[in-house]
C-alpha cells in the first residue's frame, strides 16, 4: 500500500555559484520500493533538475551510491520503509551525496577523482610471470574461491564514502582499491604477489593506514568486507613474505603477538618499543630509526605516569598468567602448522555448522 514519504535531498549546482542547500519532496510509494524510486518520482513529478546517477536499479551496476540518513548505500538497494524506520517517525529521509569525494552536482560525486584513481593505484590487472600458456591458465578451484569475495565488488564506492581513515587522510589508498589488490595477491596466476605487497606495505597510505573501523564492511552492498581483505594483505605481507615495512606494521603485529605469547595479557609499556624492534624488546630500543619515534612518545608516557594511570612498577613489570604455559602451547601448536587454517564466513555462510568440508574450503596455504 502506498505511503507518503518526505525526502530531504542535499542539492548543489556548481554553475549557480550558490552554496549547497536542502530541498524536501513528498512522494507516494509502497514501502518496499527503493529510495532511488522515490528520488526518481520527485524528479519526474516535482523538479526535473534533481541530479542522480543510476542505471540498473537492481544493485548490479553500482551507479547510485549515496548516503541515506548518514549511511552510505545504494539508493536502489534501500527500501523506503526501512529508510523511514531509520530516520524515525515523522522525520524526513535524508539523502546526501557520498562522502570523501567531491560533489559534481546534487547526488553525483566525482568517482574519477578519488575512487577510480585509487583503483588504478593498485595495478588492477594480472601481472603473470613468464610466457603465457599455450591454452588457458589452469587454476585450482580453491584458489579462486579465496578471491571470490573481492571479485564480488561492483565499484559503487560506498566503502570509499564511509571510510573513516580516508576522512582524515585523503591519500589513503582506501578500502575498495585494497580489496581489489587482494583480488590479485590471492590469484595464483599473478606473478607479482611480493612486489604488490611490498609496495602497499611500504606506502604510508597503504595497508597500514587502515584504522580497523569496520565502516567499509558495514556498508558494502555485496559483502566484500574490504577491511577483511586488507587484513589478509597484512597477513600475507608479514607471514608469507616477511616484509618488514617502515610503517611499523610488521613490528606492531609481531610486538603484540610476542607479548601475548610471553605474558598472556597485553603489557602495554612494551608494545611501542617492541614494535620498533620487529617484535623484539632489545632491538626495539637500540634501532636508530626507533629513537625518534620513541622520543615522540615520551611526553605521553610522562603524562601517564604523572596522572597516576601508570606506575613505574607497572611499566616495568608485568605478571604472566597463572597458566601461561598452556597459552604458550597453543601458540606453538598453531604457529608450527604448515598451513594456516582460515574460514571465511562469506564462503561458508552462517549455518554451515556441521556440514562436512566447510572448513577445508577456506583453508589457505601459508
Amino acid at each position: 500500500m502506498a505511503e507518503s514519504y518526505t525526502l530531504r535531498l542535499r542539492r548543489y549546482d556548481p554553475e549557480s555559484g550558490e552554496p549547497a542547500y536542502w530541498s524536501e519532496y513528498e512522494v507516494e510509494q509502497d514501502p518496499e520500493r527503493s529510495v532511488l524510486q522515490g528520488i526518481l518520482d520527485a524528479r519526474d513529478q516535482e523538479d526535473g533538475s534533481i541530479a542522480i546517477r543510476c542505471s540498473c536499479r537492481a544493485a548490479i551496476c553500482g551507479s547510485c551510491g549515496v548516503r541515506i540518513n548518514g549511511t552510505s548505500a545504494l539508493a536502489c538497494n534501500t527500501q523506503l520503509g526501512d529508510a523511514q524506520a531509520k530516520a524515525g517517525v515523522g522525520k524526513p529521509i535524508v539523502v546526501e551525496p557520498m562522502g570523501n569525494m567531491p560533489v559534481l552536482k546534487d547526488l553525483i560525486v566525482d568517482m574519477d577523482a578519488v575512487h577510480w584513481k585509487k583503483i588504478q593505484r593498485v595495478v588492477p590487472w594480472l601481472l603473470p610471470e613468464g610466457d603465457p600458456p599455450e591454452r588457458e591458465y589452469i587454476v585450482p578451484a580453491e584458489a579462486m574461491i579465496d578471491v571470490t569475495q573481492s571479485m564480488a565488488c561492483i565499484q559503487c564506492g560506498a566503502c570509499v564514502s564511509a571510510c573513516l581513515a580516508l576522512e582524515v587522510d585523503p591519500e589513503f589508498v582506501g578500502p575498495a582499491a585494497l580489496a581489489k589488490a587482494y583480488r590479485f595477491v590471492g590469484d595464483p596466476r599473478d606473478g607479482q604477489h611480493e612486489e604488490r605487497l611490498r609496495d602497499l606495505a611500504e606506502d604510508p597510505h597503504g595497508i597500514y593506514d587502515c584504522t580497523h573501523c569496520f565502516a567499509c564492511i558495514e556498508v558494502c552492498p555485496k559483502d566484500v568486507a574490504p577491511m577483511d581483505q586488507i587484513m589478509r594483505l597484512r597477513r600475507r605481507a608479514t607471514a608469507d613474505y616477511d616484509i618488514k615495512d617502515k610503517n611499523n606494521g610488521y613490528g606492531h603485529e609481531h610486538a603484540f603477538v610476542n607479548i601475548i605469547e610471553r605474558y598472556g595479557t597485553l603489557h602495554e609499556a612494551q608494545l611501542l618499543p617492541r614494535s620498533f624492534g620487529d617484535g623484539s624488546l632489545i632491538r626495539g630500543q637500540t634501532e636508530p630509526a626507533a629513537v625518534k619515534q620513541l622520543v615522540e612518545s615520551l611526553p605521553t608516557a610522562a603524562r601517564g605516569l604523572a596522572s597516576g594511570k601508570v606506575s613505574l612498577r607497572k611499566a616495568l613489570l608485568h605478571p604472566k598468567l597463572p597458566d601461561q604455559k598452556s597459552v604458550r602451547k597453543i601458540f606453538k601448536e598453531i604457529e608450527s602448522k604448515d598451513e594456516r587454517l582460515e574460514i571465511n564466513m562469506y564462503i561458508i555462510g552462517e549455518n554451515a555448522d556441521d556440514e562436512e568440508g566447510a572448513m577445508a574450503e577456506g583453508s589457505q596455504e601459508s
Binding site: 569496520f214 564492511i217 602495554e268 594511570k309 552462517e350 556441521d354 572448513m359
Partner: protein
C-alpha cells in the same frame, strides 16, 4: 546476577580506573562478578590479523573458562574492542562444527572446550545494563541524577560495526544505548558527528598522524557541540581520547581539554559513588569541572 567477568588487559593496565570503578559499581547493581583471572588477551584485532585459528583458539579458551563459572548468567566484558574481537571469533566458532572441534583440540590439555549454545552470551557492560539489568531498574537506583551535565557518547567501532555480527538483528538499538543511558542517569546526551566514528587507536604506532587527527577531530566536534565530557565503553578509545589528547591537539591545531569518562564511572556518579573513588583523578585530562558539577548537584 552472577557473571563471568572478563575485564580485559587495558582496564588492568593503563586504565586501572576502569576496572576499579567497575568493581565498585557492580554491587550497587546487584552484580556478582567472578573475574576470569586465568583468561588471556582477546587479540584486539591484531592477533586476528596475524593468525585466525590462533585468535579463535585464544578466545575459545576464554569462553570455555567463562562457561565453567557455575551459576553465571553469562559473560561480561568492559571493553568495546574485546566485545568486537570476541564476537568475531564466536561467529566463526559457531558457524562450523568441524572448525570448532579443531580449535577445541588445542584446549584439551587444560580440560577446556567451548560449547556452542544459543543461551550463552558475552556482553559488554553497556549491553548488559540495557538488556539484562533493564533501564527501569537502573533508573530506580539513580540517587544522584546528573542534571545539567552534557555528555557526548563515544561508542568505539568494535561495538557498533558490523551490525550483522554484533546482534543488531535482535537488538536494533545497540547503537543508541549510550545516548539512552546518559538520559536515564539524568544527564543530557550531546549529539555530534564523532559519536560512532573511530578514535584512531589501532593506528597509533603505525600512522600517528591519521590516528591523532581522528581523535582530535572527534574531541573538537564534541566540544563544539557543548559537551562537558565524553563517555566511552572502550578503554582503548579512552587511551587515544584522554591520554593522547594533549598530543592530538597539535594535529587539529586548537585547544581541546575535554575529560573522557569510562562508562562505569558515569554510572557510578549517578549511583552515588564519589569521583575520587571512581578513579577520576587518574585521568590525563583533568576531570575537575565535571567533579565540580557533580558536587553542586549533591549540594542542591
Amino acid at each position: 546476577m552472577k557473571l563471568a567477568y572478563w575485564p580485559g588487559c587495558v582496564s588492568r593496565g593503563f586504565t586501572p580506573e576502569l576496572h576499579g570503578s567497575m568493581k565498585l559499581v557492580a554491587p550497587k547493581l546487584d552484580l556478582e562478578l567472578v573475574e576470569l583471572d586465568r583468561a588471556n588477551c582477546c587479540g584486539a584485532g591484531v592477533i586476528a590479523e596475524h593468525n585466525q585459528e590462533l585468535v579463535d583458539t585464544l578466545n575459545a579458551r576464554t569462553f570455555a573458562l567463562a562457561q565453567g563459572v557455575e551459576g553465571a548468567a553469562g559473560m561480561m566484558n568492559i571493553c568495546s574492542t574485546c566485545q568486537g574481537a570476541q564476537s568475531e571469533c564466536q561467529q566463526r566458532l559457531d558457524a562450523d562444527g568441524e572448525y570448532r572441534r579443531e580449535v577445541n583440540s588445542h584446549l584439551g590439555d587444560e580440560g577446556l572446550a567451548y560449547e556452542k549454545s544459543a543461551e550463552w552470551w558475552n556482553k559488554n557492560f553497556l549491553w548488559l545494563l540495557v538488556e539484562e539489568i533493564g533501564l527501569a531498574k537502573l533508573a530506580e537506583k539513580v540517587v544522584r541524577p546528573l542534571e545539567g551535565l552534557r555528555v557526548a557518547p563515544f561508542y568505539g567501532c568494535y561495538i557498533v560495526r558490523p551490525t550483522e555480527r554484533l546482534g543488531f538483528k535482535d537488538h536494533p538499538n545497540r547503537d543508541k544505548y549510550l545516548d539512552i543511558l546518559i538520559e536515564i542517569l539524568g544527564a543530557q546526551p550531546v549529539d555530534y558527528a564523532g559519536s560512532h566514528k573511530c578514535c584512531g587507536f589501532p593506528l597509533i604506532t603505525m600512522n600517528r598522524t591519521t590516528s591523532l587527527r581522528q581523535a582530535g577531530r572527534h574531541l573538537a566536534d564534541a566540544i563544539d557541540a557543548g559537551a562537558d565530557c565524553l563517555v566511552t565503553p572502550c578503554p582503548l578509545c579512552h587511551l587515544n581520547l584522554d591520554m593522547q589528547q594533549p598530543e592530538a591537539q597539535k594535529f587539529v591545531e586548537r585547544d581541546l581539554n575535554v575529560p573522557v569518562l569510562h562508562l562505569p564511572q558515569l554510572v557510578g556518579l549517578a549511583l552515588g559513588l564519589e569521583p575520587k573513588e571512581l578513579g577520576m583523578d587518574k585521568h590525563v585530562v583533568k576531570t575537575g569541572d565535571v567533579q565540580r558539577k557533580v558536587r553542586e548537584l549533591a549540594a542542591a
